[in-house]
Symmetry: C2
Subunit: 125 residues, 2 copies
DNA sequence: CTACTCACTTCCATAAATTAAGTGACTTCC
DNA sequence: GGAAGTCACTTAATTTATGGAAGTGAGTAG
């Protein structure tokens, strides 16, 4: 996977990551692909947070450009795609887990998948 | 610390966290407070990424509202503040470490503090 | 008195997000 | 065969946020 031509604003790895992941939606798309078995455009759009289709479209494009997501047609006429995380994308899991754990601990509770909780415990060991 | 009145868009802990942390600047402020010994407005503003003062001001306000940052006056006339992470704010460290590790691994290298690298290794064990 | 520092705030042009509606390629129902 | 529906988007219009520059107020130093 070739990375897009992109002038990073900083040499800091955190700042660089945030240029791709640093918004309110991108990691939710990753969450749904990773854990919630949502793989079509429609499924992703119908997440609890209801991200609008133009943003979903744009975010998927960016994730694909950076090689975090791939899609393959699951039917022709009309062509319909199934979106999947790549290995690189799947490596975002610890980030998601820690963000989830932190939010759960500090933001008035919030839903916290008990199946996942176990994984969080593992990640923070 | 009382949390601000806030209607979260979702019950998901990740979505909630992203309402506070999900942008390109907030976690960089946290990074500078946590590791780079930057504590005054000016020091924070002069980070490598040069966030404009209006955004720094707004981000600090939000971090303080949520109890992740506190400030105390280090002088009067004129009053000057020193910003510090609270315990809650310091608990963001694993998130930063994983974002740093991921960015280093996948975004064309990027600077990666060798002192911190050790901590990353520990966090991902 | 003048210049300078620090910690902001205000202003403004641009960019991004939100909301709503529309499009194209079909499939299914009557 | 026409009408309605589904899916995967795109386009347009409005609102909000961002980024860059300049300004302000309270001082200190020369």
């Amino acid at each position: 996977m070739t990375k897009p031509e992109h002038e990073f604003r900083s040499r800091c790895s955190i700042a660089r990551s945030l240029e791709i992941l640093g918004d309110k939606w991108t990691l939710l798309v990753v969450r749904d692909l990773m854990w919630h078995d949502k793989h079509t455009f429609q499924e992703l759009q119908n997440s609890e947070e209801h991200l609008p289709p133009n943003l979903l479209s744009q975010r998927l494009k960016r994730l694909m450009e950076w090689g975090l997501v791939e899609r393959e047609a699951y039917q022709d006429r009309p062509v319909r795609y199934r979106y999947e995380l790549t290995d690189q994308g799947r490596e975002l899991e610890p980030i998601l887990l820690h963000i989830m754990a932190w939010g759960h601990a500090h933001l008035n509770g919030g839903l916290y998948d008990p199946v996942r909780a176990q994984t969080v415990a593992k990640a923070s060991r």
